[in-house]
Structures are given as C-alpha cells and as structure tokens.
Amino acid sequence: MSERQGVEMQNAECKMQKEILHSASPDVAGPFLHFAFCICFSAAGAEMTAIEPTHEDHHAPHPFLQHHFEDLGQQHEASTLGMWMFLATEILFFGGVLCAYFVYRGMYHDAWKAGSHHQNWMIGTGNTAVLIGSSLTMALAVWAAQLGRRKLTVIMLTLTLILGSVFLGVKMYEYSEHIHEGLFPGKHFTFVEHNNPALTPGVQLYMTFYFALTGLHALHMVIGAGLLIWMIWRAWAGHFGPEYYGPVEVMGLYWHFVDIVWIFLFPLLYLV
C-alpha cells in the first residue's frame, strides 16, 4: 500500500512540475527541471522494481476503457479523431473516381446525358429519401445512446438498419434491371435507346462509372449494416451510457458520411 502511495506522490510531483513549467520559460528553467525530472524518475524507478503496478490500480476503471488510454475522455477523442481521419481517406478514395468521372463527362458529354437520362430518377429520388431518413434515425440513435436510453437506442439503430437495407434492396433491383437490359459494361454491353452507335463507347464508360461509384457506395453500406448489427447487440447489452457512447457516435459519423457520398452521387449519376 505504501508503495502505491509513493507512486501517487510521484505523479502529483510530476503534475506540479508541469504546472511550474508552464509558467516559467523553458530556457531558464530547463536545467533545474531536468535535474528534478531525473531524480524524480530514478526514485520512482527504484520503487518500481519492488512492485509492478498496473494502471487499473489507480482507480476503478471503466469496463470499456482500454489499457493504454488515461481515461474515457482521451479514448473518446481518439476514436472520434480516428474516424474523421478515416473519412478524409474516404473522400480521396471517392474523389479519385469522381475526378476520372468528370474528365470523361467532359469528353463524352452527349453519351453522359444519354446515360443519365436512362436512369430512373424516380427510384433514385425515393432511395435518396430513404437514406436521408436513415441518417435521421442514426442521429437519434446517437442522441439516445448519449442519454443512456437503452431501448430507444436499439429501436433507432434497428430502424437505421432497416432503412439501409431498403436502400440496398432497391439498388439491387436497379442493378438487375440494368443487367437485364445489357447495360453491364463488358463484352455483352448493348445500348439501343438512342439508336446511335457512336454513343455506345461513351455510354459504356458512363455505366462503368455508374457501377463503380454506386458499387463502392453499396459496399460501404453493407459494411455499415454489419457494424450496425454489432452496435444493436452492444446497445441491447447495455454497454452505452452518458459516459461511454463513443462507438455509436463514431458509427454515426461513418453512416452520415456514406449518406453524404450518395447525396453527391445521386445528382451526378441520375440528374445531370
């Protein structure tokens, strides 16, 4: 016990040092503080050989606090920042294809027009509405998790999952229609609508981008749906509450991002 108190004292001392330091110019205080630091550490080290304290000894840790974080706040900040960084990567991921999309849109303007006119914009609009709805329920789920309302969280997450599945179902229907019409790029590609064979290569490129972009988006949706199922289970098990709701929030960030991608894709592929 006494050793542990020793450790705590060391910590307190370190904190004091830190405070002193912040007020003093490091150039002036440097040597002195180095000295203090070294002593502090060697003393601590000597005591440390006797015991092997682990972090959990300091205070009763939260069950979901990972060992390498100081506290839940740091863990939460890290995971949120991590997701933002991931989304930055995603923006460039979709950005790369969109860049190629715009280049060819400029080159094959007429074919692009023909291709996007061929899409059923009513289905697209409906699907957009479904997805925006799912963003709303996702936001509500985060809110509910934050308040620690277990049932509401589960309901909202499940609604999000259902709406997401509806979107994917509709997308599947659209895909099957396209494939049925022979619009899947490749050897068997046919586009008869305009009766203008010159447009075919352009329309095929358009359809390639259509499938690539919506396919990547759908892949993100499927991954999101998998994560949602996991979140529903965790929410059901009562893991979340006012002090620990990071996973739901991070999940929400991801889900909103996937929706926003669609908000860009929809006009680019269906309307213009």
């Binding site: 203008n196 064979p197 010159a198 447009l199």
Partner: protein
C-alpha cells in the same frame, strides 16, 4: 567521332547546345553547393569529433537571418533554374514553320517512318542535315517514346492520338534511336538509327524507289474507301469539302469550334460521330479497324495537300458549313 567509352553524348542538333549548356550549368552550380556541404560535414566531423573536453557540445542560438538566407537564396536559384528549363523547353516545343514533315508510327517493337515523298522505312530514318524536321507520330498499340539522344529530344508516342516533335540536325552521321517508354518484351529491341545526310545525298536517297508520294498514295486510298463520293469538291456534297480545310477553325453542330488539325481529322475518320461540322448530318460510317495507322497518315497527307483555292466556298473559316446548309440537309 565516337570513342568506345563516351561520357558525354554528341551534340547533333540545334537544341542540343542549349540543353547541354543548361545541364553543365546545373552540374556546376549544384556540384559547387554539394561540395560545400560535403566539406562542411567532414570538416565538422573531424574538427569537432568527440573528445573528453567537448563531450558537452556548445549551445548555439541559430541566427534567424541565416535560416532566412538559406531558405530564400536557394528558392531564388531554383526559380532561376526553372526559368532556364522552361525557356529551353519552349524552344524544344516550338516547331519552325518551314519544317519538313515526317510521320512515325510506333508498334511493338519497331519504328515505322514515312516520308512525304512516299518512302517508308523501318527502324531507320533518313533526314537531311540543317533542315528542321517535324515528326508527327502515333502508336498502334501501347505507349512508346521516340528518343534521339544526340538531338536531346524525346516524346511519348500515344495510341489513338497524334503528337509532334521536331529537331534540326547539325551533323551528318549515324545516330541512335531508342524507345524510351517501356513497351513490353522486346522494348530494348525497339531501337534504330537516324541517318543524317547532306541535302544532295538525301535527295538522291529520296529518288530511289518510292511508290509515289504520300499524298498520291493517300489519293488512291481516298478513291479506294470511296471517300470522294461524299466529300466532293462541290458544296452540294454530303460531306464537307476537304480542300483547304486543314488548319482552319471549324464550326460544329453544338456551336463550339475546333481546329481542323491532324488529331481532329484522325478522329473524324475513326469516330466520325464525335464532332460533326455544322450543317451536316451524322451519317458517315466509322473506319475504325479498316484504315490502319500508315493508311491514315497517307489520307491525312492527301487532305493536307489539297489546294485551298479551287472550290467556290469563299470564307474558309466556315469551310463547307453554311454553303452546304442552303443546299441540302443530308450532308456529312
């Protein structure tokens, strides 16, 4: 004169001295700076090597001015290098007006050259000395790159697109041609020789057995593919009049304008629906797969050779457009 162990390539074109001057200038200035850095590193390493008396290094407050100086001065030098590089680059890219046209086609793994007078050669290129040469080139398959080391010029050769490069040889002799862009198994075999000849020798060489000039061969193809049935010399034709078309601005159906250069003519033969001249219908079939690269070059040479003055269409900018619209809608 070539030694067995050259450390510097021969200078055999008008741009080569510029490129070499810039290169040697760069060698000089960067060599000097590098040398100073190395000397400093070794001098410091020896002079201030760790000895008991200097175990604790002296602390020096870095002067801000020094930092600023070695940020700003290199920046100025670098911008200077950029300007010089850009100047030479413009020189390399600006084709003189009186250049002699030669066509090159790259394919796995050979270079094919066609001269306006009709000569064809593979992996060898004969050119006259002291005369600007413009090479118009395209690839039949993958990307190649035509490099004349002694002329210090190089350009990638792209499939489905014409690019041009030029040089003016200043020395007669036999020099390397290399493919510089990796293009498959026999990439290192895609090499050849450029023979730079005295103008008289070149004329003699040209006189030796050709099947007629490129333009005349193109004219035959023009007949063979029945181009002349639509592209007549009269405004009533179903296609635009081609005489005098080359190098003019053309009005398109979507109101934009395009320059009738090699790439536009090429596209109009292979993918005629892409850019339709105003006043004509998109009725021309594609010749993709029927006309090969060499034939395309002949056709282009023919189109370029058509005299502008002959037909009645007065304003050349409008080419055949307005005249044709008055006459009949069924045109291309």
């Amino acid at each position: 004169m070539r030694s067995d162990f050259p450390l510097f390539p021969e200078q055999a074109s008008t741009v080569a001295p510029y490129v070499d001057a810039l290169y040697l200038f760069l060698v000089g200035i960067t060599g000097l700076v590098s040398l100073l850095i190395w000397i400093a590193v070794f001098y410091f390493a020896i002079k201030y090597r760790r000895r008991p008396e200097n175990e604790l290094a002296e602390e020096i407050e870095p002067p801000q001015m020094l930092e600023i100086a070695w940020t700003v001065i290199p920046a100025i030098i670098f911008v200077g290098i950029f300007v010089a590089g850009a100047w030479v680059y413009f020189h390399i890219n600006r084709v003189p007006d009186d250049a002699l046209d030669i066509y090159a086609t790259g394919r796995q793994w050979m270079w094919k050259f066609q001269h306006p007078s009709g000569q064809r050669e593979i992996n060898t290129l004969h050119v006259p000395v002291n005369r600007p040469i413009r090479i118009t080139m395209a690839s039949e398959d993958v990307i190649h790159s035509l490099w004349f080391p002694v002329f210090r010029v190089k350009a990638d050769v792209l499939p489905n697109r014409y690019r041009t490069m030029w040089f003016e040889a200043t020395k007669t002799g036999r020099f390397h041609i290399f493919c510089a862009e990796y293009c498959g198994t026999q990439h290192s075999g895609m090499i050849g020789w450029v023979e730079v000849m005295e103008p008289t020798a070149y004329q003699r060489w040209l006189a030796g057995g050709a099947e007629g000039s490129l333009a005349s061969q193109g004219e035959k193809l023009f007949q063979k593919y029945a181009c002349h049935t639509c592209h007549t010399n009269e405004a009533t034709g179903r296609g635009p009049i081609l005489a005098g078309l080359y190098g003019k601005q053309i009005q398109l159906t979507n109101n934009s304008r395009v320059l009738a250069d090699d790439n536009y003519l090429r596209e109009s033969i292979l993918n005629p629906q892409a850019k339709i001249a105003a006043g004509f219908q998109p009725i021309m079939p594609t010749f993709q797969g029927q006309v090969n690269e060499e034939e395309l070059i002949k056709l282009l040479a023919y189109i370029r050779s058509m005299p502008a003055a002959a037909p009645v269409v007065a304003p050349p900018t409008a080419s055949a457009g307005p005249a044709a619209t008055q006459n009949k809608g069924t045109v291309q």
